[in-house]
Symmetry: D2
Amino acid sequence: MAQQNMEQCINNCLECYRVCLETISYCLEKGGKHAEAGHIKTLMDCVETCNMSANFMIRGSEIHAKTCGVCAEACRRCAEECEKMADDAQMQKCAEVCRRCAESCEEMSSSAASA
Amino acid sequence: MAQQNMEQCINNCLECYRVCLETISYCLEKGGKHAEAGHIKTLMDCVETCNMSANFMIRGSEIHAKTCGVCAEACRRCAEECEKMADDAQMQKCAEVCRRCAESCEEMSSSAASA
Amino acid sequence: MAQQNMEQCINNCLECYRVCLETISYCLEKGGKHAEAGHIKTLMDCVETCNMSANFMIRGSEIHAKTCGVCAEACRRCAEECEKMADDAQMQKCAEVCRRCAESCEEMSSSAASA
Amino acid sequence: MAQQNMEQCINNCLECYRVCLETISYCLEKGGKHAEAGHIKTLMDCVETCNMSANFMIRGSEIHAKTCGVCAEACRRCAEECEKMADDAQMQKCAEVCRRCAESCEEMSSSAASA
């Protein structure tokens, strides 16, 4: 089951990295509140930690629980930011994907730490 | 149709980046011919160009045809390397994924250049 | 001499990746023309190709001439964008760093291709 | 002083990312103990966390303390691995650079957490 969870977590990270990267372009085009520095930087943090977190799991790194932990934090922050604009379909989609990724990374982070 | 092709090419790049990264770990564990410097470095080149190529398409970058062109080259070289060990299931899988990615990146590279 | 040129080109790429990444934050904070989608995306392209180009040279990859070629293109475009706002010290600095990196990547790209 | 420490930490991360990436090529060429899967993967982990950690500080991310914390862990592990082969000049250099980076990342991680 651990293997199955990791497979799912890799998929969630790759989906989240992709949707957040799409969302950066979307927000920059929109401008205004969508393009505020803090918002774009939060999305950039999420893209980067998701990509890295996936890499560590795919590679079978011994410290993947640590990278999953940081990724969970970046995803939670990004979800909170996006939920503030949840009347916008792209932002709502992004928030959902971030929540899903945060949850599975959190799980990987705790289960590996207690292993 | 162009949009559909790009969507497919992004999927191929993300699949190729993931399979090549798995294959690096597999080859390092195997040792011997699998772990030769040239072979591992060719896989690392492929992982990196596929990840970057996906990023440029997801972001809708104006120079994605250029990054797809470099990615096609890295994928072709990686496919050739892996085909030399095609009696090994992981290497054969990797070669197939690299060929598929090389073809779609080549197509993106030519169609955008002539656009 | 080739080795010395590559060393210099790696340094130029790492400097350019760093200055462009700083400039993204600067531009997002500034807002307005600085934060236009096309401008930020051009900077993001430059950050990524410079980082990758450095990686390929540091690793001694056989296709580093190709990655240097793409990087030169991304740097030239970024320099042109930044030069439009050359009354701003950060943008002028960024333009200069991009020009320097474009030139040395161009040189690496041609010399290796003819080797 | 905080700003000065961060500047130094960025430099340490960029140096460590570069030296570890060089060391991967060196180790793969050497073969034998140098090219063992665990050793190469520890170096790859260190390259990636150092590059990311630098990115988060350059961008001025709010969660850079978290990424510095993970980076410190990856650097410590890499230093320990390299110290086992400290009769080899490249491995000794790599160990030193990893120790220096681990220390400054640890410092960034604690000071920001208590801020």
